[in-house]
Amino acid sequence: MKKVLSVLVGLCLVMAGSTLYSDVTSAQGQVTVLGVWGGGEEEAFMEMVRPFEEETGIEVLYEGTRDLPTVLTTRVEAGNPPDIVHLTGPGLLMDLLRRDAVVDLRDVLDMDAFTAEYDDTWLDLARGDDDGIYGIFISADLKSLIWYSPPRFEEYGYEIPETWDELMELSDQMVADGIRPWSIGLESGAASGWPGTDWIEDILLRTAGPGVYDEWIFHEIPWTSPEIREAFELFGQIARDPNYVYGGPVAVLTMDFGDAADPLFTDPPRAFMHRQASFITSFIEDRHPDLVPGEDFDFFPFPAINPEHGNPMMGAADMMSMTNDTPEARALIEYLSSAEAQEIWVGKLGKLGVNTEIDPAAYPDDLTRRMAAALHDAPEFRFDASDSMPAAVGSGAFWEGILNYVGGDDLDEVLEYIESVAQETY
């Protein structure tokens, strides 16, 4: 009887135990990677690491989830982190640093070679308070871009605007021609609102400059300050005005960001301009396969507003950090930081390279090459502020505030609300 009992109890324990360890954990000769990529992006990632796998015999186990912060938080808390994780912003890195869950790469990478291949911008963005380097960037997206259709601009006789005033004059001209100048879509499922935060960031960078922008990220100036108010107002002039924006504010709030470039290409056009990051090209190509990149659709940089601050570029980037120090993870992070790896990655996806050694010929087309050049030649680069702030503000109250403001809420109330969340968060 005793035996039966102990066997039963043992079985219970084994069953309970096994459920706790079902997550992907790496054995020797393996390295686990957690990222947000799925579909074509996942394929491109696997293609990028294939030469690494062939050369070293290490197997890369990739796990993709759109809900990365959730999965990452759970696994770090459970003491079962992936070896390498893909971070979409400095905000996530700060959280990992706070939990002491990320490895300093100064002991991992050949620092002389590494610093030679990357501009300071990309080193500073991955630097912790102790000067450690806690991540490498494998690609970037440029956000300060306005998309348009060159044939349409030619047809209507429009010129590319160089300043904000010219941009607004052009907008008025388009209104006079009977077509809405802008198409904006803020809907993005549970992340709705982010395209609007990009607008505010681009405007603030140009009205108040990178210095104020940095203070804003770290909440050294309140959300109710005049600079931020002005940025919201300039955005509101466009997004809240049914004459300026396709479908009026209701369409702005309900249109999926991926659909928002479509009104530029209908016949007749329903809008002329669309402000969106470099990755919108893949949406456009997907929906309008007959359009030629660079000919039928093209970009111009978000124009300067205050000449003093010129035309800084704003964007986001894909960072890879090491959350588990194994020899296999070290080898992979070293490989991912190389131009050789990134050429495969940017070539497949049309993302913009960060490593300065990348051969421009690696890009799939001329349009992407020009965007990469715009990124490298930018006088100043700033990371997307909403991704750099603590999540409760950057992806909580800021998104919410943008949606409520476009929806018609009073600006003071909106800014006071975000400020109140910021005060209890920082």
Binding site: V9, T70, V250, A392
Partner: protein, 289 residues
């Protein structure tokens, strides 16, 4: 000797149940309550700070208001419509088909239903072809398309609640229909013989006989709706004043990694459900006695 052996058997039978109750119910509950008095990283004791947030912040007050709205509208419509359909469909020839159709949404997950209804509610500007069937109807009736999910505070909340009603009415109908069939024919006929009208029959015979079942169904719906999350998360993520308690808890926990606040919200939600459970247990005991 015999006693010792009995103890072992007792351990064998009670042990696993006890283990799972403690490990998966008691421990998480106690731990959540402890965490609700700690800061966002669960390191320092912060007293009632998280609970002050729960009961004073604008966001949470909106969430409470919406949960109350959900409880009232969702419960009364699922149970009310379920009852009505159970009784009315009992008298028609195409009963089976009608009931199957109404029960069908039950087979769809909340997330799936959220996605489907997001299409139904979709908005396109008046000058282009509509995607959402609902706005197309509005246009056929000569109106302007409406942003169903952003029109606050009533239109969007009711639009979300309607999705819940669509899913759960079938379930209520099936249970209530079984109870309706279970009413002894004798008393109904007796009422008929006494000259009762249809309404009197319903009010004084059918309703009292079904009361216990109606209460069980209503309580199940209330517990269900207090925890409502998926529909809101998928369709609006609580934007435009549609926040509910459970969605806020998820955000604080997983999006903002504020463990203290998320635990405080969870604790409050737990406390809200307790009276309903106590009521239910009490009633079950009364019935047994």
């Amino acid at each position: 000797m015999i006693k010792g052996r009995q103890n072992k058997w007792a351990v064998l039978f009670v042990g696993p149940a006890l283990f799972f109750t403690v490990a998966f119910l008691l421990y998480p509950t106690v731990n959540t309550i402890i965490l609700s008095f700690m800061d966002r990283y669960s390191e320092n004791f912060v007293g009632l700070q998280n609970f002050i947030y729960v009961f004073t912040s604008q966001t949470m007050l909106t969430a409470f208001r919406n949960n109350v709205l959900w409880v009232i509208v969702f419960t009364s419509f699922t149970v009310g419509l379920g009852l009505l359909l159970a009784i009315l469909l009992d008298r028609v020839r195409y009963e089976k088909i009608a009931k199957t159709l109404i029960f069908m949404p039950m087979a769809i997950s909340f997330v799936g239903a959220g996605v489907i209804w997001k299409f139904v509610y979709a908005y396109r500007p008046p000058m282009v072809e509509q995607l959402g069937i609902l706005n197309q109807f509005v246009i056929w009736l000569g109106g302007e398309p409406i942003g169903w999910l952003i029109e606050k505070p009533w239109v969007n909340n009711l639009a979300l609640i309607f999705v819940g009603i669509w899913i759960w009415t079938g379930f209520c109908m099936v249970i209530l229909s079984a109870a309706y069939r279970g009413i002894p024919q004798e008393i109904v006929e007796a009422a008929k013989v006494d000259g009762a009208t249809e309404w009197q029959k319903f009010r004084h015979v059918v309703l009292p006989s079904m009361k216990p079942t109606i209460i069980v169904v209503a309580v199940t719906m209330i517990v269900n709706v207090l925890k409502i999350f998926d529909i809101v998360y998928v369709m609006t993520n609580g934007q435009f004043g549609t926040e509910v308690i459970a969605n806020r808890m998820y955000k604080e926990m997983f999006a903002f990694t504020n463990f203290g606040r998320a635990s405080a919200i969870a604790t409050v939600l737990f406390l809200l459900i307790i009276p309903v459970i106590i009521f239910n247990v009490k009633r079950m005991k009364e019935e047994e006695a």
